[in-house]
């Protein structure tokens, strides 16, 4: 009998603070599986945000820098520019990336920074107790939209991948989800493509992962997965919104 599935080495062997059924744990594992397969953990620098995943510095086995809220792409830019041979990635939530950090996200894309952005979209600010995020769906109830998000007053959710795909410096903008095993496999492939892009110096790769927040959604972990499938995916269609490598192959 051989072990066919176990914790990736790049993921520290510790229990996490994430709530039961939270999607962060799955995405952490996928990122670390990719880092294992590429054998780059010794040359990797992770940049973690402010939010539920701030304490990922205890989980990612590589060197980690904790960035101020929203500024991870800028911190990653600084780290990558002076260490071009290192693998640098940010791991950010939707409040961090799509609200306070929008400028840093867009400009690391326009500059084509050779970094990977793992963007977790769970439609809420998890750490602070479930407030509305830029990705909160119309009508969705949160701490700060107690009567459901009213787009007349609280505006519309932002589709990051579509926005980023318009920037020339972006090599990959792909949205995936972790609500089912096939989607998890797809997510891993996208993450691998993103890190390959970085190693091949193709510019910025952003992988948006539709994920869950059972605690703040007030749903069970399995019901949360259904929410991703039934409510989030229709508003945030999965797919590749930009892929320079594929475009170039097609052009050949």
């Amino acid at each position: 009998m051989a072990v066919v599935f176990d914790r990736p080495n790049s993921l520290e062997d510790v229990s996490t603070h994430f709530c039961p059924g939270c999607g962060h744990g799955i995405v952490h594992r996928l990122v670390c599986e990719v880092l294992d397969e590429m054998g780059v953990i010794g040359d990797t620098i992770a940049v973690v945000p402010v939010g539920c995943s701030v304490m990922s510095y205890n989980y990612f086995g590589c060197d980690v820098i904790q960035a101020p809220h929203g500024r991870a792409p800028a911190v990653a830019t600084g780290a990558k520019r002076v260490n071009p041979d290192k693998v640098v990635f940010t791991y950010q939530g939707d409040g961090d990336l799509a609200a306070i950090g929008t400028a840093e996200t867009v400009h690391s894309g326009t500059r084509g920074e050779n970094i990977v952005i793992i963007f977790i979209n769970n439609t809420t600010y998890g750490m602070t107790g479930g407030q509305m995020a830029p990705t909160t769906l119309p009508g969705q109830v949160t701490q700060t939209t107690p009567f459901g998000r009213n787009t007349d007053t609280a505006g519309f959710p932002i589709r990051i991948c579509e926005m980023m795909s318009t920037l020339s410096g972006v090599a990959l903008a792909q949205r995936v989800a972790i609500d089912s095993v096939p989607h998890i496999r797809e997510a891993k492939k996208a993450i691998r493509k993103a890190f390959d892009n970085q190693v091949n110096k193709r510019g910025l790769s952003i992988v948006e992962v539709l994920s869950t927040c059972p605690t703040n959604w007030g749903l069970s972990p399995t019901a949360s997965m259904d929410f991703v499938r039934d409510k989030m995916i229709p508003y945030y269609p999965l797919g590749v919104y930009k892929d320079k490598t594929a475009d170039e192959e097609a052009a050949k």
Binding site: G42, M55, P68, A74, V75, G78, R81
Partner: protein, 348 residues
């Protein structure tokens, strides 16, 4: 050479490997110079999308053990406050230059010193200090950059050079130190990839366990105490037997020096105390300068901010008067001279 450009050249000579800037008068030439010179010297120049992004790029680069710098002017430095607090909280060395301009708000583009409080008392949230150096000439700015990088690495903290638009825009002859090749080894804490050879390094300022955070802050304050004891610096000019001592720093100190020289020529026992470090404030030096003084005249390009440290340092034993211009208005030697005369009733 122009002050702003000398600051940039000095940084390159000190082995600064990256500069992240953003345009703002009166320091923009510094970024422009970096754009020309940095890449040629094997370093990184990047104009960020905001001062906030710039300070965070410094944070990222410094985290990997590289000498990093950014510069801005008053409003931009306000934007960098959070990042600087994070860097202090993560024990990251870096050099931050503030070429001050009139404030508050958009203020003006002429020189001022109204960011003294911000730099020395409250550069950001939380218990921390940044060392603050106050050069008063282009040569001193070059020397300040060299000192700043060394002290930043030595004490693992951000160091600020508090200049102003006058110093940034003026041109003076200057000599540069030899290019520094060997730089301090930071591999014991830097987050630059562990090559599977060590435990991973974490650059972080979050400590949810309060006693642990307290211990971290207290350890930092031990370092601050060492700095206060060993790193103060000031110039005392004609202070022997001085009955009135003018306290001024930066460009204002040059104005005050002319006034003091003139007063002395007319028999008024005047002297000048010029702090070269604003934090740590030169307490020993000011008391030495004022040992015979009956009065101190604090002169600043602000409504009076350093005056509080002057009073604190001398424990209000001697009356401290104030003369200041603000909003970008530069005091003239004649104005300062008149104040000295008014306070001393002319030569006895």
């Amino acid at each position: 050479m122009k002050g702003n450009e000398a600051l940039a050249e000095a940084a390159i000579r000190c082995g600064c490997k990256c500069f992240f800037g953003y345009p703002i008068t009166p320091q923009t030439e510094l970024s422009a110079y970096m754009a020309k010179r940095m890449e040629k010297s094997g370093g990184v120049f990047l104009q960020a999308e905001s001062e906030i992004a710039a300070i965070n790029m410094v944070l990222g680069a410094a985290s990997t053990g590289v000498r990093a710098m950014t510069s801005s002017s008053s409003p931009g430095v306000s934007l960098k406050a959070e990042g600087i607090s994070y860097m202090a909280g993560s024990d990251l060395p870096a050099v931050i230059i503030n070429v001050q301009r009139g404030g508050p708000g958009l203020g003006s583009i002429q020189p001022a010193q109204s960011d003294y409080f911000q730099a020395t008392k409250a550069m950001g949230h939380g218990d921390f200090h940044v060392m603050v150096l106050a050069p008063c000439s282009v040569q001193e700015m070059v020397d300040a950059v060299t000192l700043a990088f060394d002290k930043a690495d030595q004490y693992r903290m951000p160091v600020m050079i508090l200049a102003d638009g006058l110093l940034g825009q003026m041109m003076e002859p200057v000599t540069f130190p030899e290019a520094k090749t060997e730089l301090p080894d930071k591999s014991d804490w830097a987050a630059c990839g562990h090559k599977n050879g060590r435990k991973h390094h974490i650059i972080n300022s979050l400590f949810l366990d309060a006693p642990l955070l307290e211990a971290k802050v207290k350890e930092r304050y031990e370092r601050y105490k060492q700095i206060e004891e060993n790193e103060t610096d000031a110039e005392l000019y004609m202070c022997d037997g001085a009955e009135i001592v003018v306290a001024a720093y930066g460009a204002t100190a040059r104005v005050a020096k002319s006034a003091v020289t003139k007063a002395r020529a007319e028999g008024i026992k005047a002297g000048l105390f010029r702090p070269k470090t604003l934090w740590p404030f030169p307490v020993k030096e000011i008391n030495q300068a004022c040992k015979d003084a009956k009065c101190i005249l604090d002169v600043e390009m602000s409504m009076g901010q350093m005056i509080y440290d002057v009073k604190l340092a001398t424990e209000c034993r001697i009356p401290v008067e104030f003369y200041g211009r603000t909003g970008g208005v530069i005091p003239t030697p004649a104005e300062v001279y008149d104040e000295i005369k008014k306070l001393t009733g002319g030569a006895q």
